[in-house]
Protein backbone atom coordinates (compact mmCIF):
# COMPACT_ATOMS: atom_id res chain seq x y z
CA UNK A 1 0.00 0.00 0.00
CA UNK A 2 1.11 3.52 -0.74
CA UNK A 3 2.27 4.97 2.57
CA UNK A 4 4.32 7.87 3.76
CA UNK A 5 5.48 9.01 7.19
CA UNK A 6 6.26 12.29 8.85
CA UNK A 7 7.75 12.88 12.22
CA UNK A 8 7.83 15.81 14.65
CA UNK A 9 9.49 15.95 18.05
CA UNK A 10 8.45 18.59 20.56
CA UNK A 11 9.64 19.34 24.08
CA UNK A 12 7.25 19.79 26.97
CA UNK A 13 7.01 23.52 26.47
CA UNK A 14 3.62 24.92 25.58
CA UNK A 15 5.24 27.54 23.35
CA UNK A 16 6.03 24.76 20.87
CA UNK A 17 2.35 24.05 20.19
CA UNK A 18 2.20 26.36 17.11
CA UNK A 19 4.64 24.00 15.33
CA UNK A 20 1.76 21.56 14.99
CA UNK A 21 0.01 23.92 12.58
CA UNK A 22 2.93 23.76 10.12
CA UNK A 23 3.17 19.99 10.53
CA UNK A 24 -0.52 19.55 9.66
CA UNK A 25 -0.29 22.06 6.83
CA UNK A 26 2.40 20.01 5.08
CA UNK A 27 0.27 16.89 5.34
CA UNK A 28 -2.80 18.81 4.15
CA UNK A 29 -0.89 20.01 1.11
CA UNK A 30 0.40 16.55 0.28
CA UNK A 31 -3.09 15.04 0.54
CA UNK A 32 -4.98 18.06 -0.85
CA UNK A 33 -7.13 18.36 2.25
CA UNK A 34 -9.47 21.32 2.58
CA UNK A 35 -8.90 23.96 5.26
CA UNK A 36 -11.75 22.64 7.44
CA UNK A 37 -10.20 19.18 7.59
CA UNK A 38 -6.76 20.67 8.24
CA UNK A 39 -8.14 22.79 11.09
CA UNK A 40 -9.89 19.81 12.67
CA UNK A 41 -6.73 17.70 12.52
CA UNK A 42 -4.67 20.56 13.94
CA UNK A 43 -7.18 20.88 16.78
CA UNK A 44 -7.22 17.16 17.64
CA UNK A 45 -3.41 17.08 17.60
CA UNK A 46 -3.12 20.22 19.71
CA UNK A 47 -5.47 18.84 22.36
CA UNK A 48 -3.68 15.49 22.56
CA UNK A 49 -0.20 17.04 22.62
CA UNK A 50 -1.17 19.78 25.10
CA UNK A 51 -2.28 17.07 27.52
CA UNK A 52 1.18 15.53 27.36
CA UNK A 53 3.03 18.84 27.62
CA UNK A 54 1.04 19.98 30.65
CA UNK A 55 0.69 16.75 32.61
CA UNK A 56 3.10 13.98 31.59
CA UNK A 57 6.35 15.28 33.06
CA UNK A 58 7.14 16.82 36.46
CA UNK A 59 7.15 20.61 36.32
CA UNK A 60 10.52 22.05 35.36
CA UNK A 61 11.88 18.81 33.92
CA UNK A 62 12.62 18.38 30.23
CA UNK A 63 10.56 15.79 28.40
CA UNK A 64 9.78 14.90 24.84
CA UNK A 65 6.62 14.35 22.83
CA UNK A 66 6.95 12.29 19.65
CA UNK A 67 4.39 12.82 16.94
CA UNK A 68 4.35 10.42 14.04
CA UNK A 69 1.99 10.77 11.11
CA UNK A 70 1.32 7.78 8.90
CA UNK A 71 -0.18 8.99 5.67
CA UNK A 72 -2.16 6.39 3.75
CA UNK A 73 -4.21 6.53 0.59
CA UNK A 74 -7.52 7.21 2.33
CA UNK A 75 -6.63 7.76 5.98
CA UNK A 76 -4.24 9.45 8.36
CA UNK A 77 -2.92 8.01 11.58
CA UNK A 78 -1.23 10.06 14.29
CA UNK A 79 0.78 8.34 16.99
CA UNK A 80 1.66 10.53 19.96
CA UNK A 81 4.06 9.08 22.50
CA UNK A 82 5.84 10.26 25.62
CA UNK A 83 7.92 8.75 28.42
CA UNK A 84 6.08 10.55 31.20
CA UNK A 85 3.98 9.12 33.98
CA UNK A 86 1.33 6.58 32.97
CA UNK A 87 -1.86 8.35 31.97
CA UNK A 88 -4.75 7.19 29.82
CA UNK A 89 -6.53 10.33 28.56
CA UNK A 90 -9.42 8.15 27.45
CA UNK A 91 -10.15 7.30 31.08
CA UNK A 92 -11.33 10.89 31.63
CA UNK A 93 -15.15 10.96 31.74
CA UNK A 94 -16.79 12.45 28.64
CA UNK A 95 -17.73 16.13 28.93
CA UNK A 96 -21.49 16.68 29.07
CA UNK A 97 -21.96 19.30 26.34
CA UNK A 98 -25.70 19.60 26.96
CA UNK A 99 -25.32 21.34 30.33
CA UNK A 100 -26.37 24.95 30.83
CA UNK A 101 -23.84 27.70 31.51
CA UNK A 102 -24.11 27.50 35.33
CA UNK A 103 -23.46 23.77 35.37
CA UNK A 104 -20.81 23.54 32.67
CA UNK A 105 -17.39 22.73 34.14
CA UNK A 106 -14.60 24.92 32.75
CA UNK A 107 -12.35 22.03 31.71
CA UNK A 108 -12.65 18.60 30.13
CA UNK A 109 -13.19 19.70 26.53
CA UNK A 110 -9.77 18.79 25.12
CA UNK A 111 -10.10 15.04 24.97
CA UNK A 112 -13.77 15.42 24.06
CA UNK A 113 -12.68 17.30 20.93
CA UNK A 114 -10.13 14.59 20.09
CA UNK A 115 -12.84 11.92 20.29
CA UNK A 116 -15.32 14.03 18.31
CA UNK A 117 -12.93 14.82 15.46
CA UNK A 118 -11.09 11.52 15.02
CA UNK A 119 -12.66 8.25 13.86
CA UNK A 120 -10.69 6.05 16.25
CA UNK A 121 -8.61 6.86 19.33
CA UNK A 122 -6.70 4.23 21.30
CA UNK A 123 -4.31 4.33 24.23
CA UNK A 124 -1.66 1.87 25.31
CA UNK A 125 1.19 1.86 27.80
CA UNK A 126 4.16 0.01 26.29
CA UNK A 127 7.84 -0.06 27.27
CA UNK A 128 7.41 2.81 29.71
CA UNK A 129 5.66 4.98 27.14
CA UNK A 130 2.19 6.44 26.81
CA UNK A 131 1.08 5.87 23.23
CA UNK A 132 -2.04 7.50 21.85
CA UNK A 133 -3.00 6.48 18.32
CA UNK A 134 -5.73 8.22 16.42
CA UNK A 135 -7.01 7.80 12.89
CA UNK A 136 -9.10 9.82 10.50
CA UNK A 137 -10.52 8.83 7.12
CA UNK A 138 -9.79 11.41 4.45
Amino acid sequence: MNMNERHLILHNNIQQIPQLAGFVEEIAEEKHLDTSMAMSLNLALEEAVTNVILYAYPEGSDGQVDIEAIIREDSLEFIISDSGKPFDPLSVPEADTSLDVDDRPIGGLGIYLVRSIMDTVAYERTDGKNILSMTKKI
Binding site: I14, Q15, I17, P18, A21, T35, S36, M39, S40, N42, L43, E46, E47, T50, A95, T97, S98, L99, D100, V101, D102, R104, I106, G107, L109, G110, Y112, L113, S116, I117
Partner: protein, 100 residues
Amino acid sequence: MEVNINKTDAVTTVRLIGRLDTPAAQEVSKALEPVMEDAAGTTVLDCTEMNYISSSGLRIFLTLRKAAASRGGKVIVRNISNDIRQVFMMTGFLNLFEIE
Protein backbone atom coordinates in the same frame (compact mmCIF):
# COMPACT_ATOMS: atom_id res chain seq x y z
CA MET B 1 -2.56 36.55 18.54
CA GLU B 2 -3.64 40.13 19.01
CA VAL B 3 -6.36 41.39 21.38
CA ASN B 4 -7.94 44.83 21.09
CA ILE B 5 -10.26 45.98 23.85
CA ASN B 6 -12.55 48.92 23.24
CA LYS B 7 -14.82 50.08 26.03
CA THR B 8 -17.72 52.50 25.74
CA ASP B 9 -20.31 53.17 28.46
CA ALA B 10 -22.58 50.33 27.54
CA VAL B 11 -20.48 47.86 25.61
CA THR B 12 -17.01 46.35 25.83
CA THR B 13 -15.83 45.02 22.47
CA VAL B 14 -12.95 42.55 22.38
CA ARG B 15 -11.43 41.94 18.95
CA LEU B 16 -9.56 38.65 18.75
CA ILE B 17 -7.16 38.55 15.83
CA GLY B 18 -5.31 35.40 14.75
CA ARG B 19 -5.06 31.92 16.25
CA LEU B 20 -6.39 31.30 19.73
CA ASP B 21 -4.30 28.22 20.49
CA THR B 22 -3.04 27.09 23.91
CA PRO B 23 -0.07 29.49 24.26
CA ALA B 24 -2.14 32.40 22.90
CA ALA B 25 -4.90 31.58 25.39
CA GLN B 26 -2.49 32.14 28.27
CA GLU B 27 -1.86 35.69 27.06
CA VAL B 28 -5.47 36.42 26.16
CA SER B 29 -6.61 35.22 29.56
CA LYS B 30 -4.39 37.82 31.23
CA ALA B 31 -5.45 40.57 28.83
CA LEU B 32 -9.11 39.88 29.58
CA GLU B 33 -8.87 40.00 33.37
CA PRO B 34 -10.27 43.58 33.54
CA VAL B 35 -13.06 42.60 31.14
CA MET B 36 -14.00 39.64 33.37
CA GLU B 37 -14.24 41.90 36.38
CA ASP B 38 -16.41 44.29 34.44
CA ALA B 39 -18.72 41.68 32.93
CA ALA B 40 -21.93 43.19 34.32
CA GLY B 41 -22.59 45.02 31.05
CA THR B 42 -22.54 43.75 27.48
CA THR B 43 -19.34 42.18 26.20
CA VAL B 44 -18.92 41.54 22.48
CA LEU B 45 -16.29 39.03 21.40
CA ASP B 46 -15.57 40.05 17.83
CA CYS B 47 -14.21 36.94 16.09
CA THR B 48 -14.18 38.31 12.53
CA GLU B 49 -10.40 37.86 12.34
CA MET B 50 -10.03 34.81 14.59
CA ASN B 51 -9.25 31.76 12.45
CA TYR B 52 -8.65 29.03 15.02
CA ILE B 53 -9.68 28.11 18.55
CA SER B 54 -8.72 25.20 20.80
CA SER B 55 -10.15 24.10 24.14
CA SER B 56 -8.03 26.58 26.09
CA GLY B 57 -9.63 29.38 24.08
CA LEU B 58 -13.09 27.91 24.60
CA ARG B 59 -12.34 27.88 28.31
CA ILE B 60 -11.80 31.67 28.22
CA PHE B 61 -15.12 32.17 26.43
CA LEU B 62 -16.89 30.03 29.02
CA THR B 63 -15.18 31.74 31.96
CA LEU B 64 -16.28 35.12 30.63
CA ARG B 65 -19.81 33.80 30.04
CA LYS B 66 -19.97 32.56 33.64
CA ALA B 67 -18.61 35.86 34.98
CA ALA B 68 -21.29 37.72 33.01
CA ALA B 69 -24.05 35.35 34.13
CA SER B 70 -23.20 35.85 37.78
CA ARG B 71 -23.16 39.66 37.40
CA GLY B 72 -26.26 40.00 35.23
CA GLY B 73 -24.29 40.88 32.10
CA LYS B 74 -24.33 39.31 28.67
CA VAL B 75 -21.79 38.07 26.15
CA ILE B 76 -22.27 38.27 22.40
CA VAL B 77 -20.02 36.29 20.06
CA ARG B 78 -19.78 38.07 16.74
CA ASN B 79 -18.84 36.72 13.30
CA ILE B 80 -17.40 33.29 13.89
CA SER B 81 -16.19 31.47 10.78
CA ASN B 82 -17.90 28.28 9.64
CA ASP B 83 -15.00 26.16 10.89
CA ILE B 84 -15.18 27.70 14.35
CA ARG B 85 -18.97 27.36 14.31
CA GLN B 86 -18.35 23.61 13.87
CA VAL B 87 -16.20 23.59 17.01
CA PHE B 88 -18.91 25.51 18.87
CA MET B 89 -21.46 22.97 17.68
CA MET B 90 -19.37 19.97 18.72
CA THR B 91 -18.88 21.35 22.21
CA GLY B 92 -22.42 22.65 22.78
CA PHE B 93 -21.15 26.24 22.86
CA LEU B 94 -23.73 27.33 20.30
CA ASN B 95 -26.35 26.95 23.03
CA LEU B 96 -24.33 28.86 25.62
CA PHE B 97 -23.75 32.07 23.68
CA GLU B 98 -25.70 34.67 21.85
CA ILE B 99 -24.17 34.51 18.37
CA GLU B 100 -24.57 37.22 15.78
